[in-house]
């Protein structure tokens, strides 16, 4: 009764609306006996990968096949949204629901048939994208197309019947080995496969994130404390809103089953923390110590928010003068960036981006330092400043050409600034010590601090 028309499934003709009702009716007739009308198609049904120009370049179905034409609804929404950023993540179509994410210029569109927590799907799709990134180094269309078989194998392992199965990258890497040039050479000579044939050890133990039998000659553990300042600063230079968000990214290359504990000098700074599953929550609650058996390789240990009581030191200031003359097709633009309160460290990698008003045609500027570009299509001005030296403040000055006849832009555009300060955690968070139990060797330990601008705008 569920027989389909065979190859016909692929013809462009059948729309989802005439594929699915068949199934529903058959089901309902079966279920009439117990008086329930439930459609049992839960979780993720199919996944389509769509590139920016609207080509579906990969599809995967975990249950019965859903025709590509379901994506038309998505394209419709995409057209309506104008901007890719504005495509609603959840779209309702007559028979399906489409939940999509946009990552690295690819839309991951999943097809859902019944009620499901939308975040569940979104989070999973992001995890898929992360895994691709992890495997191929980039999550781009070409990377996926080049490795289509591995992508398929991965998707097969990650989802069973629409329900996530193995999403931990450590486990996946044991099941399916990531492609390397060396391995592909070896494989072609020896004929061995890159699919593991044993069940990953981690899958069964109570520490599913770590695989057994890890061995390194140099045992190393690195922690990067990366803090980002989110701030909104108004015209007069006073801070409207500022917040520090931080993450600790780890790169752990330790043999065996090390049991680490990381303690901070000032753990009270951390207000709201989210943990990698490996961290023992009780230890944190009682002693404010991060105690964990780490996964192998790179992972995000914690992410945190610094309590809002602490005043946030803003490390740079910007003097800006942007004006448009009434009834003339030009305006003036003058921006200076300077350091402030940076605790003796230099501010590096400063980049300023400005979304200019639509009326702006072109910009004619001179920078005392770094270089600038202006994209007349997207109206984005990017100024790559580099390092700020207090002796000579970088300045960008010049003339803005406006479309003649267009009304004067009423608002000054907001300036987004990115910067980096090495060796400084702006919140003052300090790692106290790292202890290791369970293994005998002495690991090499390293901690790096970086402060970055997050969503920093003036």
């Amino acid at each position: 009764m569920l027989m389909r028309c065979g190859p016909g499934c692929h013809c462009p003709s059948p729309s989802p609306s005439n594929l699915i009702p068949k199934r529903v009716t058959s089901k309902e007739s079966c279920q009439a006996t117990d008086g329930k009308h439930r459609q049992s198609q839960k979780m993720i049904h199919s996944l389509f990968l769509i590139n920016c120009s609207g080509d579906i370049f990969l599809e995967k179905h975990w249950k019965s096949v859903v025709s590509q034409s379901v994506c038309d609804y998505f394209f419709e929404a995409q057209e309506k949204a104008i901007d890719v950023e504005n495509v609603p993540p959840v779209i309702s179509t007559p028979h399906h629901y489409l939940i999509s994410i946009y990552r690295d210029k690819i839309f991951f569109v999943s097809v859902i048939q019944t009620e499901v927590p939308p975040l569940f799907v979104i989070e999973f799709l992001h995890r898929v994208a992360d895994t691709f990134q992890d495997y191929f180094g980039e999550c781009s269309e070409t990377a996926i197309k080049d490795n289509v078989v591995i992508v398929y194998e991965l998707l097969e392992e990650m989802l069973d019947n629409g329900f996530p199965l193995a999403t931990e990258s450590n486990i996946l890497k044991e099941l399916i080995k990531p492609p390397t040039i060396l391995r592909s050479v070896v494989n072609s000579i020896t004929g061995s496969s890159n699919v593991g044939d044993t069940l990953p050890t981690g899958q069964l133990s109570n520490i599913p994130w770590r695989r057994a039998g890890v061995k390194y000659t140099n045992n190393e553990a690195y922690f990067d404390v990366i803090e980002e300042i989110d701030a909104i600063i108004d015209k007069s230079g006073s801070t409207v809103f500022a917040e520090i968000q931080g993450v600790i990214d780890s790169c752990i290359k330790l043999s065996g089953m090390p049991d680490l504990s990381l303690s901070f000098m000032n753990p009270r700074l951390l207000d709201d923390v989210s943990f990698h599953p490996c961290i023992r929550f009780k230890r944190w609650e009682s002693e404010r110590v991060l105690s964990f058996i780490p996964p192998d390789g790179n992972f995000r240990l914690i992410s945190y928010r610094v309590s809002s009581q602490n005043l946030v030191a803003i490390p740079v200031y910007v003097k800006h003068m942007i004006s448009f003359k009434e009834n003339s097709s030009s305006g003036r633009f003058d921006v200076t960036i300077g350091p402030k309160q940076n605790m003796g460290k230099t501010v590096e990698g400063v980049v300023m981006t400005v979304h200019m008003p639509k009326a702006v045609l072109n910009m004619n500027l001179t920078a005392t330092q770094g270089s600038y570009t202006f994209d007349p299509v997207t109206k984005v001005l990017t100024w790559d400043v580099g390092k700020i030296t207090p002796q000579k403040l970088p300045n960008l000055k010049g003339i803005v050409n406006l479309q003649s006849g267009a009304p004067k832009p009423e608002e000054n555009p907001s300036l987004n600034i990115q910067f980096k300060i090495q060796q400084l955690a702006i919140s003052g968070l300090k790692v106290n010590r790292l202890d290791m139990y369970g293994e005998k060797y002495k690991p090499f330990k390293g901690v790096k601090y970086i402060t970055k601008a997050g969503k920093f705008q003036m």
Partner: protein, 1052 residues
């Protein structure tokens, strides 16, 4: 290429085919060629063939059947990965003919030894159900069985299957509720989401609402002693009024989900947030807001969903998010949909205190280049103005200023909002209306024009000079206007005609004539209607008298409401909530019941059997007026007290322990949830005791009961004093808790009197064995446990979970299943004598607790005692000298051991199914000692239960060289069946197989490392001999076991 004999060529071909599938091209004509390769040895080819099969099997059912036999074979494969993937593919092939085969496979897999395979079985349930819903009943049986599974791996998947197949069978959850709550933290994140959603629904049907008496919510549960680590501040503001009592299970759920707010997975955080929103007392729900705000740092899709949910929440309970107001400030780089949602929340949060800052913020938003967003901001300002009366004027003025804005949409939106505002505030319009009338010339947006016209019409009496002028202007342009505007022109005309007919009569009639011949029937309709109503003629009915009243009646002001207002009837975090419409398969969250259903249904069945047992024994129960929660433990105390009365030696002991228990209870406060867990703990032990005692009914019945009682009592005492460790640690395998809890419970003792008494008693205990018979010696072996040391299980399994495990073994399923130990291990072995250890002595025994450190580990409990008069610090395992393949899971170092103190820690050793010695160094701070552990072969086993039929079947497969046997002489006192069972089970960790014949006893187990079956048969013959047969693949272990079992039965 597929026909090629070379694997590499085949692989290449398969890769190309998969590439075609991925692009959505049809590759079905290759089906026959591909199916042939399903039996390929190369695992990668195999996998790709699986991919292909899942895609096309439905279209080519007949050919797909060819592959089925391969899967059936693979289902028996020793490699669990292959078993699992075979099941996955088999169940993914949507071919109705194979339904019976699938059913069989699922049933078999659901009792597989590997939890991974069981997990896949749970997945397969859903697939089979969607293929053939008629299998529902059978599938529910399997679900019921899998729900009892204790593996965290299975829990998520089986709950998913439950939600899919039978979400209304809530009765299946009762018995597993507590287990699920306790396991929750360790389940993988996707499973957590599903379980939390399911438990939310469950709790809504099972507990009474905590909201009714919200103002004075009283937390009956004093958690400060045991759960202060949870950081719950609630009990501080607890007062004595007992108006509402939260069910302990309800509290358990809230407490166990709370740590998950810290999860890195947004879906989990959201699930917990909605659970708190729907289930927690209102005062507690606030804790979720911080975590939700954290999610706003995430990518835009997550932000979108989270903001939507916050928007709904913020309408009902403003206070929750007020502290985070600034987190919702809009950034210019946010996508529009995020901006509008943030704006929505800001508007919801606006109150007298923050409105001024908010309005300033809004001012910036209005200038945004994103006009859609600017328009939304104006609406938001309008809403703020209506909601907060203090700022209405300010807002109105601000909006009027916006009227001079250069952007049309902004102006139009302002007009519309001003119109709404003026309606609510009919006091001072004159000026504004005049201003707007002037604007009419410039504004082209129809909605705005219509709004202005309506305003002028409505308040035409206040602007008598302007109104007719406006009508004149618009009448001129009538034909070019939008429909919306035309209607309002007609309205304006009618109103003016009624109030000021002198000036406007002709104008109105002109407009009405224009309307009569308009293209839109709507306008023609309206024209006719108005003409009849206002223009007096002979036919005009009674209505025209009231025309003025009809047109110029006071109109109710429109309410400016949040679009999220009506979403709250959907469960938060669901798809239906996001779409604001019912999605297929949405399950309504039921209202709280007025009266909670019987909480006893959640008690695990073991508790009931224990009660039955006491009834059978006919113990006199003193009826004490007890509180609901304590009844069980009281009962137990009664019970053991009465035992104490009849027995001299051990009785007095247990009485002392009773006192001790009482005191520790008192000192620990009346935490009923801890009481509860210790209850189930003792229950479980009780059931163990029951089994043992059942086995020795005849000659030793009396003594064994005494012993069993002793055991359960001891366990009970210790468990109640260290519930802290057991429940707060949950199942994290942090065995360091042992030392923590020890000091905790020590300090928890109410007075020195009890503890000194205790010491007296333990000292006495130490002396007893020489005089006592065998069973009191067992008691002595439990000595380490009677000291307030954590029960080792506590480190890994929480007590109620243990109870569940016991339940599993009781249920006596017909298939092979790993069970818990039938017999509590007794014998301790010396590891380090105190002379050689310079005062440090160590003993070990095999705890027979399965699954403590993973699959292949034999759990060993080591009791370390300090007999010196100084502290011994940092006791840990040093260098290991292990034979190849052996592994040790070390216990966490003991930081410090007081003089005279002792600590029990658990470690796991993978002996690789050999009796080789595991040698390692036991190190202290200053010293190290070489020690070794040699396992008796009986401890390398895990008991399994199976039916007699299965046993025979398995035995039939293990004949020939896999069988070893011997004839032995049986001592006369050992000839009863119960004694035999007891002795054998004591000697080796075997599971008893029910036997139909009196003279044949069967036992079954599997080896810990390799999982191969070990079947033991004892057949009693005449003249006190017996045939002992062992069938196993592991012939070496088999023969060693045979050698060890021989003396057990032949000696007295």
């Amino acid at each position: 290429m597929l026909e090629s004999s070379k694997d590499s060529a085949k692989l290449d071909a398969m890769k190309r085919i998969v590439g075609m599938i991925a692009k959505g091209k049809n590759a079905s004509e290759l089906f026959p060629a591909v199916v042939k390769n399903v039996a390929s040895k190369n695992i990668e080819i195999k996998k790709l063939v699986y991919v292909y099969l899942m895609r096309y099997a439905e279209e080519q059912q007949d050919l797909a059947l060819l592959s089925i036999s391969t899967f059936q074979r693979a289902l028996k494969d020793p490699n669990q990965l292959i078993r699992a993937s075979a099941l996955r593919v088999l169940s993914s092939i949507r071919v109705p003919i194979i339904v019976p085969i699938m059913m069989l496979a699922i049933k078999e897999a659901s009792s597989d030894l590997s939890p991974y395979v069981r997990k896949n079985a749970a997945h397969a349930i859903q697939k089979l159900y969607s293929l053939d819903p008629e299998q529902k009943e059978m599938l529910i049986e399997v679900i019921e069985k899998l729900l009892k599974d204790r593996s965290t791996l299975v829990a998520g998947s089986v709950v998913m299957a439950f939600e899919e197949v039978c979400p209304d069978r809530i009765d299946l959850i009762h018995k597993n509720y507590r287990k699920l709550c306790n396991l929750l933290v360790d389940v993988e994140e996707w499973g957590q989401v599903v379980i939390i959603h399911m438990l939310t629904r469950y709790a809504r049907t099972q507990f009474v609402s905590p909201w009714k008496t919200d103002d004075d919510v009283v937390e009956e549960y004093n958690e400060n002693n045991f759960y202060e680590s949870d950081g719950e501040q609630k009990e501080k503001d607890r007062n004595v009024k007992k108006t509402y009592t939260m069910d302990p299970d309800h509290r358990l759920l809230l407490r166990n989900t709370k740590p998950l707010l810290q999860s890195r997975n947004a879906a989990v955080v959201m699930a917990v947030a909605q659970l708190y929103w729907h289930l927690a007392p209102k005062s507690e729900a606030g804790i979720v807001s911080k975590s939700l705000v954290r999610l706003l740092r995430s990518n835009r899709e997550v932000q979108y969903i989270v903001l939507q949910n916050i928007a709904t929440m913020s309408i009902q309970r403003k206070g929750m998010f007020e502290p985070y107001l600034k987190s919702f400030y809009v950034r210019s780089t946010d996508p529009t949909m995020i901006k509008t949602l943030k704006l929505e929340i800001l508007t919801n949060l606006a109150n007298e205190a923050n409105i001024s800052t908010l309005l300033r913020e809004f001012q910036t938003y209005v200038k945004s280049q994103d006009k859609q967003f600017a328009a939304a901001t104006i609406q938001a300002i309008g809403r703020c103005a209506t909601n907060i009366t203090e700022v209405t004027d300010t807002c109105l003025n601000g909006l009027v200023c916006l009227l001079s804005n250069r952007d049309e949409t902004v102006v139009a939106e302002s007009v519309v909002v001003i119109k709404k505002l003026l309606q609510t505030q009919p006091a001072h319009h004159g000026e504004i209306i005049k201003h707007m009338a002037k604007l009419l010339d410039n504004i082209t947006v129809p909605v705005a024009r219509a709004s202005i016209l309506w305003l002028i019409g409505e308040y035409c009496e206040r602007v008598p000079k302007i109104a007719p002028d406006v009508l004149r202007k618009t009448a001129k342009s009538f034909t070019n206007e939008d429909d919306l505007v035309k209607l309002q022109i007609l309205n304006l005309g009618a109103k003016l005609y009624l109030t000021n007919s002198k000036q406007t009569k002709l104008l109105t009639q002109y407009v009405l004539n224009l309307g009569k011949y308009d293209q839109s029937y709507d306008i023609r309709d309206r024209t006719r209607f108005i003409r009849q109503l206002i223009v007096p003629n002979e036919k005009s009915g009674a209505l025209s008298k009231y025309a003025k009243k009809i047109f110029l009646a006071q109109k109710p002001a429109p309410l400016l409401e949040s679009p999220f207002k009506d979403r709250d009837h959907f469960q938060l975090g669901t798809l239906s909530h996001t779409l604001n419409s019912r999605a297929t398969g949405y399950l309504e969250l039921s209202d709280w019941p007025d009266v909670a259903p019987d909480p006893a249904v959640r008690n695990v069945e073991v508790a009931e059997s224990a009660k039955e047992w006491t009834a059978i024994l006919g113990k006199t129960k003193k009826e004490k007026p007890t509180e609901k929660f304590y009844s069980e433990s009281e009962e137990e105390e009664d019970e053991s007290a009465s035992t104490g009365a009849t027995e001299s030696e051990s009785g007095s002991e247990s009485e002392k322990e009773d006192k001790e228990e009482g005191s520790s209870d008192e000192s620990s406060g009346s935490s009923s949830s801890s009481e509860e867990s210790s209850d189930s703990e003792s229950d479980s032990k009780e059931s163990t005791a029951k089994k043992t005692s059942g086995a020795v009914k005849e000659s030793n019945a009396e003594e064994s009961k005494k012993k069993a009682k002793g055991i359960s009592k001891n366990r009970n005492t210790s468990s109640s004093s260290d519930t802290e460790s057991s429940s707060s640690e949950g199942s994290s395998s942090d065995s360091k808790s042992v030392s923590d809890s020890r000091s905790d419970s020590d300090s928890g003792k109410s007075g020195s009197a009890t503890s000194s008494k205790k010491e007296e008693k333990t000292a006495q205990d130490r002396k007893t064995p020489s005089k006592q018979d065998v069973f009191l010696l067992d008691l002595d072996d439990f000595y380490p446990v009677t000291t307030p040391v954590a029960v080792p299980t506590a480190a890994v399994l929480s007590p109620s979970l243990t109870a569940d495990l016991e339940g599993l073994s009781l249920s006596g399923s017909s298939v092979i299943d790993v069970t818990t130990q039938v017999f509590v291990p007794t014998k301790t072995h010396e590891m380090l004598h105190r002379m050689t250890g310079k005062g440090l002595s160590a003993h070990y025994h095999f705890s027979r607790q399965p699954d403590m450190f993973g699959d292949h580990m034999v759990p060993v409990q080591v009791t370390v005692t300090n007999t010196t008069d100084q502290k011994i610090e940092n006791i840990h395992i040093g260098e290991k000298k292990l034979p190849l393949g052996m592994r040790i899971h070390e216990f966490n170092p003991i930081e410090c051991l007081e003089p005279g103190g002792s600590v029990t820690v658990s470690m796991g050793i993978d002996f690789c199914d050999s009796t080789q010695t595991a040698s390692f160094q036991l190190c202290t701070k200053d010293d190290h000692f070489n020690v070794n552990i040699q396992p008796p072969v009986g401890e390398l086993l895990l008991p399994v239960t199976m039916s007699e039929k299965d046993f025979k079947k398995e035995q039939g497969m293990l004949t020939g060289m896999n069988e070893t046997s011997a004839t032995i002489a049986v001592a006369p006192q050992n000839s009863t069946s119960l004694v035999i069972i007891e002795k054998v089970v004591k000697a080796a960790n075997l599971g008893v197989v029910p036997s139909g014949q009196d003279n044949i006893h069967r036992f079954a187990a599997k080896t810990v490392h390799s999982g191969s079956l070990m079947l033991v048969t004892v057949e009693l013959k005449e003249s006190s001999t017996a045939q002992l047969i062992i069938n196993t693949e592991k012939t070496v272990i088999g023969s060693v076991l045979l050698r060890e079992l021989k003396p057990v039965l032949s000696q007295g």
